[in-house]
C-alpha cells in the first residue's frame, strides 16, 4: 500500500439520509467527499416523510439541519443530477467518471425566488407528493431542498422540447436560466466508494386483486404519508381520494410486496412497514381528533426496535385495531370506499367496509441500483440487496466498496444512519495516510478587535431582484435606516448574496470602518452563514452580524399591502440594528483534543470500536470488568448466517492483542471521571488514569434469568444462550435429543419489560434449522407471539417451516404451561388454529430469554449521560444520532444501547468509532461562539441551569457557582431563561439584545 498512491477522497453515491450521514462523517474526519445524487436535490425518501416513528418527530424538521450542513460543507462537493458512469481502479485509488446532467439553471445565480415557476404553463405529476398533485416543468423538488436551486425538466419544458414559451427566462430576475445547458462528463479520483442508493417503494400495480391501479380509494402508504404531510397535496388533511371527504374508516394492509414469494418474489420482510403503518394510523387518528376508525391487517407485528413495542401498545391503547389476517383481495364499493373480506383469529369469515385501504408496501431495490451493482461487479442476494457478512456489515464483496442504508437490506432510519457512520469508518480504514490531503480549510484574517469601539453599523437592504423591491419601498427603508442610532452607512443592493455584492460589502466595511453589519434580505436560516463568512473575510468578527428577514417574512407574504410591508421592513431593520448595536464580538477558543478513546466494555462492540479506531490511526484503551474479552459472544455458537462466532472471536482477540494502538485493561471498571470532550480523564478501579478525548460506552447487556417455565428447576429447561453453549461444546445429550420446544418472548414484551429483544426469533429459527439439518427427524416446536425475523432473516423462518419446524402462536394471556412429572417435562400449549391443546414432552425446552440492560446508573452518572426507563443508554436523537450521546464526545455501541444482532452490533461499533474520529481527528477543537456564559457574581448556585441544560454543559465549581463548559454548550439558552437572577447569558442572544428588539418592535 505504501508505494501506491492513496487518494484522500471518497465517493458517496446517494444523497438520502444514509448518504448524507456518511458524507458528513467522512468530511469531518478529514476526507474530501464527492456526493453524487441523481435527482435535483438531496434528502431522499426521508424528506418525503411527515413524521418519524417512534417519537413522531417531524421528519423535515430533523433532516433539514442535516441538509443544510451537507449543502454548506466545504469538503462535500455536491453533484446533483449526476449519474455514475464508471469506477475503475482499486481501493486507495479509484477513477470515477460521472455525467452531470443539465439543470438549465445557473446555480450561482438562482436565488430560488420562484418567479419562474409561477407562469410556467406545464403542469406535471409532482413526484415529491407521489403524484398526488402537480408541479411545473421548472421546479424545486421540495421547498426545503438542498441545493435550493430550481431545475428544468428538459423532457417537458416547452422551450427545450419545442422552442416555444421561454417565459421563465423572461421572468427570472437573476438571469439564471440557461436553455443551452449541456451534460458534461467529469472524472475524479477517490480512495473508496460508499454506496447509499436507497430503495424505492414497492409499486403494487401488479397485484390485480388489491386494485391499486383502478380503485381510487386504494392508496399506498407513502401516498398516505403525503396526505398527512403539512406540505402534502391536501396540506395535512386526510381525505378519501374518490370524493375528498373525510374518511371515517381506514384499513392498513401489511406486507404488500414483502414476505411474498408467490407474486412479488420478495421473500424478505421490509422491516419498517409495521412501524410506519402504526405511525400513520396514530397520526391520522390524532388529526381526526380520535374519531377515525383504523384497522391494521397483519401477519406478525414486527415492532422490534427501541421503543417500538411501547409505540405498538400506545396505538392499541389509542384504539387502533390490529387484525391478524392477510387480506387477499380488495373490492371497490360503489359510491366510494372498499370492501375487505377476511378471516378473524377465531376463524370467522368477515366482510367489512372501509373508506380507504392503505397498502403498506415494502422496500425494493431500484432497477438502476441493480444495474449499478452489476456494473460494479458487486455480489447481491436473490432480492438484489448487496451481500455483506455479519462481521463486516458495511463492506461489499469488492474491496474498496462499502454500503449503507437499504442497499444491504430493508431498514429504518437509525439503522441506516448507524451504517452510514460505519461505512464512513470502514471506507477510510485504508486511507489513513491520505487523511487531510485533499480537504480544504477556510483561511480568514484575524479579526480586528472592535471591543470597546462605539458601534458603527452598516445596513444593507436587499431588493432580491423584484422579490422584495416589488412590494417594499427599499429606498424608503434605506433612508429610514440612516436615521437609526449608530448607523454609519446604509444602502440598497440588487442581490445582497451575489458575489459582487459580497465583495462590495468587504470594501465598505473597510472604507467606513463598520463594525456591525445588518442585512435586510432573506432568512438567516439560509443566508446568515454566507454573510458571516463575508464578515470574516473582511476581518470582522462574524458574530457582529444581524439579519432582518424582509423577504420570507415580509414582501412574500404581504404582497397586497405594500405600505404595511414597507413599515414592517423598517421596523424589522430597526430591530436588527437595535440588536446589532449591542452585539459583542464572540470569541471562539481552541482546546486541545487528546487523540485517544476510552472504550468501556470489551465485548464484540467494544473490540470492534477499538479496532476501527486503530485502523484510523487512533489509540484506545479498552476497560473490561471481566477477566476476559468477548462478552456475550463467548456464549454464542453461530450467527444467523451460519458463521462461527468462536472463530470470529478468537480472530478478533488476536487482532486486539497484537494491535499497538489498543491497550486492554481487564478486570477493571471506571472509578472516577473528570473533564469533557477532548479532555477526559477517567480513573479506573485499577488506579490507572486514562486521558482520552472521547468515550465509547459498550457495556453490553445480560440475558434475563427466567422466573417461569420451570427454569432452574428442570434441567431440560435452558435459555437460548445456554443451548448455544451446549451446541458449542458438542453436548451429547443435545445431539441425542429428539424433541425441542422453543419458547419465544420469555421476559420480553411483558408489562415490566415492554420491549422486544430483537434477536431471539431469528436466532431460534436459525438454531431450529441447524438442528433440523443435523437430524431431520427431530421434532421442533416454536411457541411464539409474533415471529420477528425481519429483513432477509425472513428466509430463515421460511426455511424452518419448509424443513418441518412447527410454529405455534400463543398469547400473553394463554402462555404455554410447563409441568414436571417424574422428571418428565410436559409442555401444554393451545393451538390457536385448531383451538386444541397440544401436549409436548420435549427433551429440551429452550427459552428465548429477554436481553436485559445492565442498568449502568453509576456509569451514566459519572459521564452525565442518560438511561431510558428500561436502562438502555439514551442516544442524542433516536433517528439521526443513534450512536451519539447528547453530551459531546460520548458515544455508544452494542447492546448497551438496545438489543440487536451481531451484524448490527458491529455496524454500530464501527459507527461509534466513526463518530469518535470526527472529534479525534482535530488536534484542536474550536469551541465558543454562541454559547452561554455565567456571571458568577449573580449566581446563587441553586443549580437550576445545570438541571435544565440538555447537554450537561453546566456544572457547579468548587465555590458552588455555575460554570459553562463551552465545549459542550450548544447555545439553546435554556439556562439563561431559567435562572432567576440572570447569571447565565446566551452570547448572541443576550437579554439586552432581546429587550432592544422588543422595544423596537413596538
Amino acid at each position: 500500500m505504501a508505494s501506491k498512491n492513496i487518494v484522500g477522497a471518497v465517493l458517496v453515491a446517494g444523497g438520502g439520509v444514509a448518504g448524507m450521514q456518511a458524507a458528513l462523517d467522512l468530511a469531518n474526519a478529514g476526507y474530501y467527499v464527492y456526493m453524487v445524487e441523481k435527482s435535483l436535490a438531496i434528502g431522499g425518501r426521508m424528506a418525503q416523510l411527515d413524521k418519524t416513528f417512534p417519537t413522531n418527530d417531524c421528519s423535515m424538521c430533523i433532516i433539514s439541519p442535516k441538509l443544510v450542513e451537507v449543502g454548506r460543507h466545504i469538503n462535500v462537493e455536491l453533484l446533483t443530477l449526476t449519474d455514475i458512469l464508471s469506477i475503475e481502479g482499486e481501493e486507495g485509488d479509484f477513477t470515477v467518471t460521472v455525467r452531470k446532467n443539465p439543470r438549465y439553471i445557473d446555480m450561482s445565480k438562482c436565488i430560488a425566488c420562484g418567479e419562474c415557476t409561477k407562469k410556467c404553463p406545464k403542469k406535471l405529476n409532482n413526484e415529491y407528493n407521489e403524484s398526488l398533485d402537480t408541479r411545473k416543468a421548472i421546479y424545486v423538488q421540495y421547498a426545503q431542498a438542498v441545493p435550493l436551486k430550481y431545475g428544468i425538466d428538459a423532457k417537458e419544458c416547452l422551450f427545450i422540447t419545442k422552442g416555444k414559451c421561454g417565459t421563465c427566462k423572461k421572468l427570472c430576475p437573476a438571469d439564471a436560466i440557461n436553455y443551452e445547458d449541456k451534460a458534461e462528463e467529469v472524472t475524479f479520483h477517490v480512495g473508496s466508494v460508499v454506496l447509499a442508493p436507497g430503495f424505492t417503494p414497492f409499486k403494487p400495480t401488479e397485484f390485480d386483486t388489491l386494485r391499486y391501479t383502478d380503485v381510487k380509494d386504494v392508496i399506498t402508504a407513502l401516498e398516505f404519508e403525503r396526505y398527512l404531510g403539512a406540505t402534502g397535496p391536501t396540506m395535512g388533511h386526510v381525505i378519501r381520494p374518490s370524493d375528498h371527504k373525510d374518511p371515517k374508516k381506514l384499513a392498513f394492509l401489511q406486507c404488500v410486496g414483502s414476505r411474498e414469494v408467490n407474486r412479488a418474489s420478495n421473500g424478505y420482510c421490509s422491516s419498517v412497514c409495521c412501524m410506519y403503518a402504526i405511525k400513520e394510523a396514530l397520526i391520522a387518528k390524532e388529526h381526526s381528533g380520535g374519531a377515525l376508525d383504523v384497522s391494521i391487517f397483519y401477519m406478525d407485528i414486527r415492532t422490534f426496535g427501541k421503543d417500538f413495542e411501547k409505540y405498538y401498545e400506545k396505538a392499541k391503547a389509542a384504539g387502533i385495531k390490529f387484525v391478524r389476517s392477510r387480506i387477499h383481495s380488495i373490492q371497490p364499493e360503489s359510491g366510494g370506499g372498499v370492501k375487505l373480506n377476511y378471516v378473524t383469529d377465531g376463524g370467522a369469515s368477515t366482510v367489512e367496509l372501509f373508506d380507504v385501504a392503505v397498502l403498506s408496501h415494502g422496500l425494493v431495490i431500484t432497477p438502476e441500483t441493480k444495474e449499478l451493482a452489476k456494473k460494479l461487479s458487486l455480489a447481491t442476494d436473490c432480492y438484489n440487496f448487496a451481500q455483506t457478512s455479519t462481521f463486516a456489515p458495511v463492506a461489499l464483496s469488492r474491496p474498496g466498496f462499502y454500503a449503507c442504508g437499504a442497499f444491504t437490506g430493508p431498514k429504518d432510519i437509525p439503522s441506516s444512519v448507524m451504517e452510514a457512520s460505519a461505512a464512513a469508518a470502514a471506507a477510510t480504514s485504508k486511507l489513513t495516510p491520505a487523511r487531510g490531503s485533499l480537504t480544504k480549510v477556510v483561511k480568514v484574517p484575524t479579526p480586528v478587535d472592535v471591543s470597546g469601539d462605539p458601534p458603527r453599523v452598516g445596513v444593507f437592504i436587499c431588493h432580491c431582484g423584484i422579490n422584495i423591491a416589488s412590494v417594499v419601498d427599499v429606498a424608503k427603508v434605506v433612508e429610514f435606516a440612516k436615521t437609526l442610532p449608530f448607523v454609519e452607512y446604509a444602502s440598497n443592493t440588487m442581490f445582497a448574496c451575489s458575489q459582487d455584492s459580497q465583495e462590495k460589502l468587504v470594501a465598505l466595511i473597510k472604507e467606513y470602518g463598520l463594525n456591525r453589519i445588518v442585512v435586510s434580505a432573506c432568512s438567516p436560516r439560509t443566508h446568515e452563514p454566507l454573510f458571516q463568512e463575508t464578515l470574516a473575510a473582511a476581518g470582522l468578527n462574524k458574530y457582529l452580524y444581524e439579519m432582518a428577514n424582509i423577504r420570507n417574512h415580509d414582501s412574500w407574504v404581504h404582497a397586497g399591502h405594500p405600505e404595511e410591508a414597507t413599515r414592517k421592513a423598517m421596523d424589522m431593520t430597526e430591530m436588527a440594528v437595535a440588536k446589532a448595536v449591542l452585539l459583542s464580538p464572540l470569541k471562539e477558543n481552541v482546546i486541545d483534543v487528546d487523540p485517544t478513546a476510552l472504550v468501556i466494555g470489551g465485548g464484540v462492540a467494544g473490540l470492534n470500536a477499538a479496532l476501527t479506531l486503530s485502523s484510523q490511526g487512533f489509540k484506545s484503551v479498552i476497560v473490561e470488568k471481566d477477566s476476559k474479552v468477548g462478552g456475550n459472544a463467548n456464549r454464542i455458537h453461530s450467527t444467523t448466517k451460519g458463521e462461527s462466532v468462536a472463530d470470529y472471536l478468537s480472530d478478533l482477540k488476536t487482532k486486539v492483542q497484537n494491535d499497538p494502538n489498543i491497550e486492554l485493561v481487564l478486570s477493571s471498571q471506571v472509578d472516577k471521571v473528570d473533564g469533557y470532550v477532548g479532555n477526559f480523564t477517567t480513573t479506573l478501579t485499577t488506579g490507572q488514569a486514562v486521558k482520552h478525548g472521547v468515550t465509547i460506552i459498550a457495556t453490553g447487556a445480560k440475558e434475563h434469568k427466567p422466573t417461569e417455565y420451570l427454569y432452574g428447576e428442570n434441567r431440560r429447561v435452558v435459555t437460548q444462550l445456554e443451548l448455544d453453549e451446549l451446541l458449542k461444546a458438542d453436548d451429547q445429550n443435545v445431539a441425542k435429543a429428539e424433541t425441542f420446544v422453543f419458547v419465544q418472548c420469555v421476559g420480553s414484551r411483558e408489562p415490566e419489560r415492554l420491549y422486544c429483544s430483537k434477536v431471539c426469533c431469528a436466532h431460534t429459527a436459525h438454531v431450529a434449522v441447524e438442528l433440523k439439518k443435523n437430524k431431520p427427524q427431530a421434532r421442533i416446536f416454536v411457541l411464539y407471539r409474533d415471529i420477528r425475523t425481519y429483513a432477509q432473516k425472513e428466509d430463515l423462518y421460511k426455511q424452518a417451516r419448509d424443513l418441518g419446524v412447527i410454529f405455534i402462536r400463543y398469547d400473553l394471556d394463554s402462555k404455554p404451561q410447563f409441568s414436571e412429572d417424574n422428571k418428565k417435562l410436559t409442555v401444554k400449549v393451545k393451538d390457536p388454529v385448531s383451538g386444541h391443546h397440544l401436549i409436548i414432552q420435549p427433551d429440551y425446552a429452550v427459552l428465548a430469554a429477554a436481553i436485559v440492560s445492565g442498568r449502568e446508573n453509576e456509569l451514566a452518572m459519572k459521564y452525565k449521560v442518560p438511561l431510558d426507563e428500561d436502562g438502555w443508554f439514551f442516544e442524542a436523537h433516536q433517528k439521526l444520532r443513534p450512536v451519539d450521546f447528547a453530551t459531546d464526545g460520548m458515544f455508544m455501541a452494542g447492546l448497551a444501547h438496545y438489543p440487536k444482532p451481531m451484524d448490527e452490533v458491529v455496524a454500530q461499533a464501527q459507527a461509534a468509532a466513526a463518530r469518535a474520529v470526527t472529534v479525534l481527528t482535530q488536534p484542536k477543537m474550536t469551541v465558543g461562539g454562541i454559547v452561554a456564559e455565567i456571571n458568577q457574581a449573580r449566581c446563587s448556585g441553586c443549580g437550576v441551569c445545570k438541571a435544565v441544560c440538555p447537554y450537561s454543559a453546566i456544572d457547579l465549581d468548587d465555590k458552588g457557582k455555575a460554570v459553562v463548559n463551552e465545549a459542550m454548550c450548544k447555545g439553546c439558552g435554556n439556562c439563561a431563561s431559567s435562572c432567576r437572577s440572570d447569571a447565565p447569558s446566551l452570547r448572541g442572544f443576550t437579554n439586552a439584545g432581546l429587550f432592544a428588539q422588543i422595544a423596537t418592535a413596538l
Binding site: T483, A937, A999, T1000
Partner: protein, 342 residues
C-alpha cells in the same frame, strides 16, 4: 405666640376657613390605615399617627423632575423641560410633633447654605403645617427621649390639641398666626394647660438614657463596636424602616425613555439595599447588611446630630419599631450602642 380656642360648634367653619385658597390635607382613617388625604371639613382626631410620615407630601416616592424629547422634526429637539414647582398652596392639619420635627430635619438637607432643592422648596414653602399634639403615646412612641415632645413645636406653624371636643391652638409662626386669624378661632390663654398636658404625656413615655450616652461617645468607638454583626443579624434588608422614617430622605435618580423622549425622576432609595452603594465597578463599600444596618443607626443617632447641631436624626415616631418585620427596635439598638461604647 398666642393661643386660640376652637369650640366644637365652630369646628366646621374653622376647617372651612382653612381650605380657603388652598387644599387641606388631613389624616383619614384609623390604625394602620390612616393617611393624609385631601379633606374639606372636620377631621377625626382619633388616630395614633399616619401610616406613612408626611414627608411624602414634600418628597413623593416618585417625582418627575424633567422631561425631554428626541423628535428631530420638532423645534428645539433634545431640549428639556423642568417639571418642578407645580406645588399648590396647602395646609396640612394633624401632623404629629415627631413628624414635624422630622420634616424640619429633612428641610435642612434639602435647603441649606450650600444647596437648595427646588422641588422640595416649592412644596415646603407653600405648605402651612398644623400639628396635633399627642395626649397619650403609643407603645412604640419615644419622642421625648429623642429630645422632642408630644407637644413639640419644631417645624410647625400651628400646634393644635384636642380640647373639649374642640381644639386648642398655639400659633408658632407669622404665617400660622395669619392663618388662624383668618378663621373663627378665638384667642385664649392656654399656656399652662399646654404645659401640664405636655408634662403628663412625656411622663407616659419611658425614659431612655441611652441617647445621652451616644451623644457623649466618640464616633469611631460607636462605629467600631463589636455588636453590629449581631445587631444586623436578624435584619432582612428590606428597608421598610427607611421608607417609613420621617427623616430618611435618600433618593435615586432614574431616566425612563421611549422612542419619543423621556423623563428624569427621583425615587425613594434606601441604604438598606446593597444597590444603594454599589459602584459601577462592582465594588461596594457597604458590602453586607452589617455595614448597612450600622449606617442607618449611626446616621440617625450620630451623623445627623453632628451635622445638625445635636439634633438627632430619629424623632421617636416609632414607625420603624412597628414596621420592622424582624422587630429590630431602635431603642434596643441604641441601648446596645450606648453599652458598647461605654
Amino acid at each position: 405666640m398666642p393661643e386660640y380656642l376652637v369650640k366644637e360648634s365652630s369646628l366646621a367653619s374653622f376647617f372651612q376657613a382653612l381650605t380657603q385658597g388652598r387644599r387641606l390635607l388631613a389624616p383619614q382613617g384609623q390604625g394602620d390605615n390612616c393617611h393624609l388625604e385631601v379633606s374639606t371639613g372636620p377631621v377625626s382626631l382619633d388616630y395614633a399617627n399616619t401610616h406613612l410620615s408626611p414627608k411624602a407630601v414634600f418628597f413623593p416616592q416618585t417625582e418627575k423632575l424633567l422631561a425631554f424629547h428626541k423628535l428631530a422634526d420638532k423645534p428645539k429637539p433634545h431640549q428639556y423641560q423642568d417639571l418642578g414647582d407645580k406645588a399648590e398652596p396647602t395646609v396640612i392639619f394633624g401632623i404629629r410633633p415627631c413628624d414635624a420635627k422630622g420634616l424640619s430635619i429633612s428641610n435642612k438637607v434639602f435647603q441649606n447654605d450650600r444647596f437648595t432643592d427646588p422641588y422640595w422648596k416649592g412644596k415646603y414653602e407653600k405648605t402651612l403645617k398644623i400639628g396635633l399634639a399627642c395626649l397619650s403615646p403609643s407603645p412604640q412612641c419615644f419622642c421625648a427621649a429623642m429630645g422632642g415632645s408630644p407637644f413639640g413645636e419644631v417645624g410647625l406653624d400651628v400646634l393644635a390639641y384636642p380640647k373639649d371636643k374642640g381644639l386648642g391652638l398655639r400659633t408658632l409662626s407669622p404665617a400660622g398666626e395669619e392663618l388662624i386669624e383668618s378663621t373663627s378661632a378665638e384667642k385664649a390663654d392656654l399656656a399652662s394647660e399646654i404645659q401640664d398636658l405636655a408634662k403628663k404625656a412625656i411622663e407616659a413615655q419611658g425614659p431612655l438614657d441611652a441617647y445621652q450616652a451616644i451623644d457623649a461617645s466618640k464616633l469611631m468607638d460607636l462605629y467600631q463596636a463589636k455588636h453590629w454583626a449581631n445587631t444586623a443579624e436578624p435584619c432582612l434588608g428590606c428597608g421598610v424602616c427607611t421608607f417609613f422614617c420621617p427623616t430618611c430622605h435618600c433618593f435615586d435618580l432614574q431616566d425612563e425613555a421611549n422612542d419619543l423622549g423621556g423623563v428624569r425622576m427621583r425615587n425613594w432609595d434606601t441604604c438598606m439595599s446593597q444597590l444603594f452603594t454599589a459602584h459601577g465597578s462592582g465594588h461596594n463599600p457597604r458590602p453586607s447588611k452589617v455595614e448597612r444596618v450600622r449606617q442607618r443607626f449611626m446616621h440617625k443617632l450620630k451623623y445627623i446630630p453632628i451635622k445638625q447641631d445635636g439634633v438627632r436624626g430619629c424623632t421617636g415616631c416609632g414607625r420603624c419599631v412597628v414596621m420592622c418585620p424582624a422587630n429590630i427596635d431602635i431603642r434596643s439598638v441604641a441601648a446596645t450602642m450606648a453599652q458598647a461604647s461605654a
